[in-house]
């Protein structure tokens, strides 16, 4: 599609009696060089494209690293053969398909889920501090994980189920409190209910750890956050919730843009502000609970990624920020996981703290530059 020239002279429904709008006629007469106006840009700006490109390159590079590097080096050609089904059966194919591919996919979906969840919540609650933590999801998921790790250590396969179930339960309780009674649906109510629910579940988590001090060792890794080489079992548990969360996120980007101009403007444009807010919170809760079920507490990503995207790209448009946050989240998670596995091999560093160490300097640098 070629960009057509500006058509501002086309006029309104009945341009005949054009009354003199002082500002517009002044601009038309004394407009800057460029005559009748350069066509306004319609696509993303260079800066926005660069941010997407950088994230995409980092993602691909980290994915290649994630598939090839490790205790056994697998050449890229062997990886491609295995993934496309052309490789002969053997240990290399097994390593690629049963160990590294699922871990790479986990890093991808966890990072994308947290980036998306943060972008949705910050938009829906109009609050830069919003992250999946404020919905109670993180507190609930931690409690669910501790229940399994500390009370039922034999049933380790239930870990993602417990984290997911309690993460969603906590969010459901927060919604139930926030969406009923007088003053229902307000942002303040939702956030306060989330903080209270987080505190309640955290108390439960701490109590469990105090009751079983000898088993706490196994819980530390989960709390630190990180991926494990556990094949496809985690993804098998969470994929339906992930799918619902991502599909909802896709339908929410334009409604969230309307909401950014205020509830009344959103309503003027035919949206229902409360419905948008609630749907966004539900989607974010699902995505964050899934991420916690797979990777433990790495929720810092959800707060941090959307800010980085907005500051780096210079736009807050949700049609851009939500998908780009998903991409950037996936890239950071995958870079973090690959580094965590390889930097100090054979020791595997916990991904959560490593990503915070990677992310905080970038975040603070952008924060100082942003006006």
């Amino acid at each position: 599609m070629s960009a057509p020239p500006a058509t501002r002279a086309a006029g309104g429904p009945a341009a005949g009696g054009e009354p003199a709008g002082p500002a517009s006629s002044a601009t038309a007469a004394g407009g800057p060089a460029g005559g009748p106006g350069a066509p306004p840009r319609r696509g993303p700006s260079v800066r926005q494209t660069v941010v997407v490109a950088v994230a995409a390159v980092a993602l691909v590079a980290a994915a290649i690293g994630s598939m090839t590097l490790g205790a056994v080096h697998v050449p890229l050609s062997a990886v491609l053969d295995a993934v496309t089904g052309q490789a002969e059966d053997g240990p290399l194919k097994q390593i690629v398909l049963d160990l590294r591919l699922p871990r790479m996919v986990e890093a991808l979906v966890v990072g994308a889920a947290l980036g998306t969840a943060g972008a949705l919540l910050q938009g829906a609650l109009a609050n830069p501090l919003a992250s999946p933590d404020v919905m109670g999801v993180t507190g609930g998921a931690s409690f669910g994980a501790m229940l399994i790790l500390l009370l039922l250590p034999d049933q380790i396969a239930l870990l993602p189920v417990g984290a997911l179930a309690f993460g969603l339960l906590a969010a459901a309780l927060v919604f139930a409190i926030a969406a009923t009674g007088a003053g229902a649906g307000g942002v303040g109510r939702l956030v306060l209910a989330g903080i209270a629910m987080t505190a309640a579940f955290q108390a439960g988590t701490t109590s469990l750890m105090a009751l079983f001090p000898e088993r706490v060792q196994s819980a530390i890794f989960w709390l630190a956050g990180g991926l494990t080489t556990s094949g496809w079992s985690n993804l098998r548990v969470v994929w339906p919730y992930l799918a619902v969360g991502f599909v909802l996120a896709l339908t929410l980007t334009r409604p969230l843009d309307r909401l950014a101009l205020g509830d009344d403007v959103a309503a003027s444009l035919g949206s229902r502000p409360r419905a948008i807010r609630l749907t966004a919170a539900v989607a974010a809760a699902m995505l964050a609970a899934c991420a916690a079920a797979i990777a433990g507490l790495v929720t810092f990503l959800g707060l941090f990624i959307p800010h980085v995207v907005r500051m780096a790209a210079g736009t807050s448009s949700h049609t851009y920020v939500v998908p780009t946050s998903a991409l950037a989240g996936a890239a950071l998670m995958m870079v973090g996981d690959t580094l965590a596995r390889t930097v100090a091999a054979p020791i595997e560093l916990p991904v959560g703290p490593l990503m915070v160490l990677l992310g905080v300097p970038l975040f603070l640098w952008l924060l100082r530059r942003a006006t």
């Binding site: 309104g12 106006g37 109009a126 403007v265 003027s268 419905a275 749907t279 907005r310």
Partner: protein
């Protein structure tokens, strides 16, 4: 809408019915009656001002007819169709509502904001077509905001922001624009600019409903004024016939008189401290 209802047949609009016909509208908020019975009829190309004292229910009435506030009684019809039967999208193509003060988000340019105003015409998950982009540029030009179309909303003055709000509404290309006290935070010059803009829109064929405090402004721009007092519409008609001394005394409890000169000057002569001589 986040989750659009599918399969709902759109009710047919009646081209002969008035654009907006609201009768005996009542509103309760939190169980408390705010509006008892208010009427408003608006036709194409008309500018109607809603005036009344603070707390009389002007803004509530405007929100109710615009479909932003649930009604407890009466009827609101847009082109003959009850407001409850219209989907948000359909309603957005019949009227634009410009709030008194809206959120000013960071990182959003004027043109981005006006594009958001176009969204009722864009299919869910669809993109703006060439016609949509043209409509956005028309709205930007009409509201006189081209000069700062690339600037972020956070850098604009109050008067500039209010014109951007109008541009967002104009991008909806609805036949009626409802503005809730658009001039209440503006200085004299910005108010005059906005008044000219709104009056100019009626020459384009739009209907405009203006909730406004300033009676001399209402008298200058409006074809008709509707007076709301204690939750009821108590008078409707041309400004000079409605805003008479007795009514100003009765509704606002002031000793005041409206003067309208044929050359377009209007003034409200108020005995601010009561009659002193």
């Amino acid at each position: 809408m986040a989750l659009p209802l599918v399969g709902r047949a759109a009710p047919a609009l009646d081209a002969d019915a008035p654009l907006l016909d609201a009768r005996e509208v009542a509103v309760e908020i939190g169980g408390r009656p705010i509006l008892h019975a208010a009427d408003l009829r608006v036709g194409t190309g008309e500018l109607v001002a809603i005036v009344g004292p603070n707390g009389a229910g002007k803004s509530t009435f405007a929100r109710a007819v615009a479909g932003l506030q649930r009604t407890a009684g009466g009827s609101v019809r847009w082109s003959g169709v009850d407001v409850a039967q219209l989907s948000g999208r359909q309603l957005a193509q019949l009227r634009a509502f410009v709030p008194q003060r809206s959120r000013v988000p960071e990182g959003v340019s004027v043109r981005d904001a006006v594009r958001i105003g176009r969204s009722p015409h864009v299919k869910p998950l669809g993109r703006l077509t060439r016609a949509d982009h043209d409509a956005v540029e028309r709205a930007i030009a009409r509201a006189g905001v081209e000069r700062f179309a690339e600037r972020k909303l956070t850098t604009l003055s109050g008067g500039e922001l209010q014109r951007v709000q109008i541009a967002v509404g104009l991008a909806q290309e609805a036949p009626l624009l409802l503005a809730d006290e658009p001039t209440s935070h503006l200085d004299l010059g910005a108010t005059a600019t906005l008044a000219k803009l709104l009056r100019g829109l009626t020459a384009d064929g739009l209907a405009v409903v203006l909730v406004v405090h300033d009676l001399s402004l209402a008298a200058a721009v409006a074809d008709r004024v509707v007076v709301i007092a204690r939750g009821r519409s108590v008078a409707s008609g041309p400004p000079a016939e409605v805003l008479v001394r007795e009514r100003l005394a009765d509704v606002w409890q002031v000793d005041a008189a409206l003067e309208t000169r044929p050359d377009g000057h209007t003034a409200l002569h108020v005995a601010w401290l009561g009659r002193t001589a």
